[in-house]
Symmetry: C2
């Protein structure tokens, strides 16, 4: 059977692509080190035709399947040992390479996890590193641990080599527990590796001072961990153990889930129909989202995020990760586990990753799917009769979780019974910390534990929304509500307010304006709602989260121009999936990102458009964020706005849930 | 046993208060018509002492109980038949009236539900009203229904009489179902009743035109409902019935809830300890909220809300409800039912209401309490060992739901395992609609069904937060994050941003500023966090929701000055509970509300302060909001900020939930 064009590449397909690449670079002089092999999604022009035929479901007529393509990313290493980064597109059916590109030295490929391992190995092979560690008198039983990080933006004028940096901590090995929290013991140095040489080329020394201390001066003694304290989170290491009085909440679905999953990719649930795929850069992606046979979205993904740190002391300006472009959210996805990451009846999806030899393997449970009760959906009580009709809101959750060294993010796409789509991000994990001298406080962060400064930082995300509201020709507009002046004729009592609509004519960046209730709508101008006469659409109010704070023109700001606006409207082009551009690792400027797409000044009315929503958290850490921070939850809601001709959840049953009980009745058979 | 001072008055206590009032007005010449009798909370000076002793729990020493007081609101009607509105405070223990106040004619008492019934009766006794109805040719089988409303702001210069207005609809009686949705058939007239005379004194005619039509002209025929269509929500009336493919989600707590409730008012759960009470104006109120023996809040309540409508055509400027001040949220609270309004193991609290004879009765299940799983609480995966530690977030929900004619609101206070408090409001129910001519559209709202215009409106809420962060002497400040200019010495790489703190010195109104990440903190300046050295506190980021849009100086705006700012900081005074003042019904100006409290210019540092948060929804209706709107959900989060010395949820167990299953395993015994 021919796989659906949106389906994640199988192990067999990846192997075909790998073999084609290897045969294309078969010279004995070169070695090929693979980075990623994943689905290169078909061009939209082909997919439009395919999907039209698929949804029309003409008996006996099957859609013309676009070529099945694999994007292969790999280094070619010649006798000079200097890797050259290549990207090839392989047609898997034809077993043929259809595109080959050698990437210029001005760009760096995304990192792989084995480069992180190389950093750790290089540190322990480096005399320079070991000498630097030896300058400290670590407490008895403590051992240094290297935490690999991307290098951040390459300083302007610096030679474009491939670097990695490491944050260094010490772990208390007397616990005999490898999960003892080493972040509580930060060491003030950063080793820097030349990735091609696989050598530590520099050790940056970190200032540990506080308010009033210089940005670079050394103020600490060699016993730099003596004022640090344990901060365990693994339950077996908690001094008081875990609390005993939290009784279980079980979520049971005795009749099974209300969704079906076909071919491990097609999801149907409560009139929704969509495909889910998984790739190493974006993680889970939704495709071809329909409701009740009507198209809503062509594609929905988290496109990028950047995490800049605000400690002015060099080299902390290089703490700026692009977690999708640098490392790949899909690469960092957790293997989820039953009864921990979500409750109820769960369907997991697997991913496929490759080793540096290009050999694919299945990575299990990288995406989970489940239903969730979301409280009251709608309710009305007729006070005359006392009759209350109350229904529950339910959502279908497509979730993946990534770990990036210390931090984790939980990403969820939630489709609901009222036709809404919520994008949810939860930030959790361990805040990034550095050493601070005893008794000092800092303008650069908060002291969250003895000797531990959690640095101020931001998380700025970009979601990519490729709409298809009843078709591919869509327009974007924003609506605002404005106070009106007194007017004897038109506003005699001053209670009128006006709704102003502005259609976005050309590609551009726009901002949130909650003071005007600015609401963006994506509409199909060719189709009117039969009830209201307004064009059918979906709307969202972009949360007015703070933008990037780094000084304009700084490396941190230049690399992340996508953060300049809350909303971007661009004209669709194939392969434009990444808000900060294709290459972010060590970038000095956002190239080919949404800022450049918008700059084309394309016409974007009644056309194939893409909406990008940038949102963020300015995270000035609290003591309560230590040692593992409670989730900070962020949501954006996309809601139908005159898309339907009534509340689509009006037919959700209002039946009483018979398993709910009064206090004291929970173990009895007597249920109401 | 002496009731706890915060406990809702019992039926017996209300009866004592009633009898004292009746004996104080025992003249045969007068009749006493009761409105409300409820707890008059003790002055804080007495409560501070009481609570100190209560929490110290000195053996053998019991706290001195403040007087148990009832606030009694009633009309005294003399031989002239003109009611005079009185408020008395009765000491229940001493069986003595301790305060008596005759309210001036410039103020109106809050309405009672029996006044609403009087409006309906008066309509049907009124020839003027019946003649007006007879002007329309209703479809066969339709009968007019009167929906009572408060009158809104009294026009400036109008005689201060007590009025009620009615919206009029028609119900299709051929269904033989009293829950057939009459809102789908709006009739364009508003009867106005003089409440003292109990007589319809005027019928306002409503324009039914669209864009370009005059504000007052009649454009409809007598067959004004012919273009209206059924819009049922009761499941038995849905043409297609309810959907059949939604399988149950059951929430089971086989070991019972993790909370205990003592004396029907003291709640203990996961280190939280608080009291809950219920009163006719505010609904559920939280008191004396502690975490792990430390005080967080003295009192938390929803104080007020206003719903102004933006249709410029007179008399729609009088559609402005103050749902707490006009009618009383507690009075309008739903009697909740098991398995409908919340799932799991539920504890209900009852309220006590009085009839016009002052006779108390229990109104069951007006507040519910339950635990809720809130998804992942915190997670960290050690990528070296692959070990994931993941815990759930859980919250304890105190919820009440009110019905105000067509609309409903779900209010919830959610305490969570991470020390956070979330205030949640869900708006649902039926949007307020008026008749619109066939084929027309309007600048005043959206056509959501044939002949049905849902008018643009706002919902603006005020929450009252009376903090007690480790004691009663608290300060409020706001923190902002700001970009810093380049500076060779202090910001050499442009990545620094600055956190600026501004302490609120005097009582005032302040605004949200998400562009600066403006975060308000309530701190105890006398107590430092042992880890960070910062004063212990709680923080919240006021959502930058749109303010009231009515023209400045308009009646709608003058009555609701509390909407002028997102945050107010005032100095505590006993009996200052209501954001829009004590009397809102027919008000022309907010008197004694938070605007006046702030104007006192009180010192508010290191003092007993109150924080008010105003937030709202600008609701320009969608077709999807018809016939019952899916919940619009709004949340404000209060989080500890250096209140604790680590994540308070770090000891939440990370055990696997054994009832979760893989798809396909849900009915088998094989569970993972």
């Amino acid at each position: 059977m021919v796989p659906h064009p949106f389906k994640t590449l199988s192990v067999e397909e990846v192997r075909v692509a790998r073999d084609i690449v290897l045969s294309a670079h078969s010279s004995k002089e070169v070695v090929v080190d693979f980075r990623e092999i994943f689905l290169n999604e078909p061009s939209k022009i082909l997919m439009k035709r395919y999907l039209e035929a698929e949804h029309a479901a003409m008996p006996g007529r099957s859609p013309v399947t676009p070529p099945r393509l694999a994007k292969c990313q790999y280094d070619v290493i010649g006798s000079d040992k200097v890797p050259e980064y290549h990207e090839s597109i392989v047609d898997i059916t034809l077993k043929k390479r259809v595109k080959h590109e050698i990437i210029g030295k001005e760009h760096q490929a995304s990192l792989t996890l084995w480069e992180f391992e190389t950093l750790v190995e290089s540190c322990w092979k480096s005399k320079m590193f070991k000498d630097a560690i030896a300058e400290f008198q670590l407490p008895e039983g403590f051992e240094a641990v290297v935490e690999p990080w991307p290098y951040g933006g390459l300083d302007i004028g610096a030679e474009s080599r491939r670097y990695f940096q490491g944050l260094v901590f010490a772990q208390d090995t007397r616990n005999n527990n490898q999960d003892s929290n080493f972040y509580a013991y930060p060491l003030p140095l950063i080793p820097v590796m030349d990735a091609h040489k696989k050598e530590i080329v520099r050790i940056d020394r970190l200032a540990t001072g506080g308010k009033g201390d210089s940005l670079t001066g050394k103020t600490h003694s060699e016993r730099v961990l003596d004022h640090c304290q344990p901060a365990e989170y693994a339950p077996e290491l908690l001094p008081g153990g875990t609390r005993k009085d939290m009784k279980p909440i079980d979520i049971l679905q005795p009749e099974g889930p209300s969704f079906t999953v076909t071919d491990d990719s097609l999801i149907e649930w409560q009139k929704w129909r969509l495909r889910v795929s998984f790739n190493p850069r974006e993680g889970a992606v939704l495709h071809d989202v329909h409701y009740d046979g009507r198209s809503v979205l062509y594609r929905l993904s988290i496109s990028e995020m950047t995490v800049p740190y605000a400690d002015a002391r060099p080299p902390f300006h290089r703490k700026q990760a692009f977690d999708f472009g640098d490392g790949g959210a899909g690469n960092c996805a957790n293997n989820l586990s039953l009864g921990c990451d979500c409750l109820g009846v769960i369907k997991y999806f697997d991913g496929v990753v490759v080793g540096s030899d290009g050999e694919p393997r299945v990575t299990p449970n990288v995406v989970c799917l489940h239903e969730q009760d979301e409280g009251i959906g709608w309710k009305h009580t007729n006070w005359r009769t006392g009759r209350a009709v109350v229904t529950r809101m339910r959502s279908l959750v497509v979730q993946f979780i990534i770990t990036l060294a210390n931090y984790e993010y939980v990403f969820a796409f939630k489709l609901d019974t009222a036709g809404g789509i919520t994008l949810e991000v939860r930030a959790t994990g361990i805040v990034s910390v550095v050493n601070i001298d005893p008794g000092k406080t800092s303008d650069y962060g908060n002291v969250v534990s003895g000797g531990v400064l959690a640095q101020n930082h931001q998380h700025i995300f970009a979601a990519r929304i490729d709409p298809a509201i009843d078709g591919h020709e869509n327009s974007a507009l924003y609506e605002e509500s404005h106070t009106m002046p007194w007017d004897k004729e038109t506003n005699p009592n001053g209670n009128l307010y006006e709704i102003r609509k502005t259609v976005i004519q050309t590609s551009q960046g726009l901002d949130a304006a909650p003071e005007h209730n600015r609401t963006f709508k994506i509409v199909n101008p060719n189709k009117k709602n039969p009830v209201s006469g307004a064009p059918v659409g979906y709307k969202f109010m972009p949360p007015a989260t703070q933008k990037l704070l780094a000084t304009p023109g700084s490396l941190q700001a230049q690399r992340a121009l996508f953060c300049n606006h809350h909303v971007w409207v661009t004209k669709y082009q194939d392969d434009e999936l990444y808000a900060a551009g294709r290459f972010t690792l060590q970038s000095q400027l956002e190239v080919g990102g949404v800022h450049d797409m918008a700059k084309r000044n394309d016409e974007v009315t009644n056309d194939d458009i893409v909406i990008w929503n940038t949102f963020g958290l300015t995270h000035n850490p609290r003591v309560e964020d230590w040692p593992v921070m409670p989730c900070d939850v962020f949501q954006v809601h996309f809601k139908p706005a005159d898309f339907f001709s009534a509340n689509p959840a009006i037919d959700v049953p209002s039946r009483k849930n018979l398993s709910s009980v009064l206090v004291g009745k929970e173990c009895c058979s007597e249920k109401l």
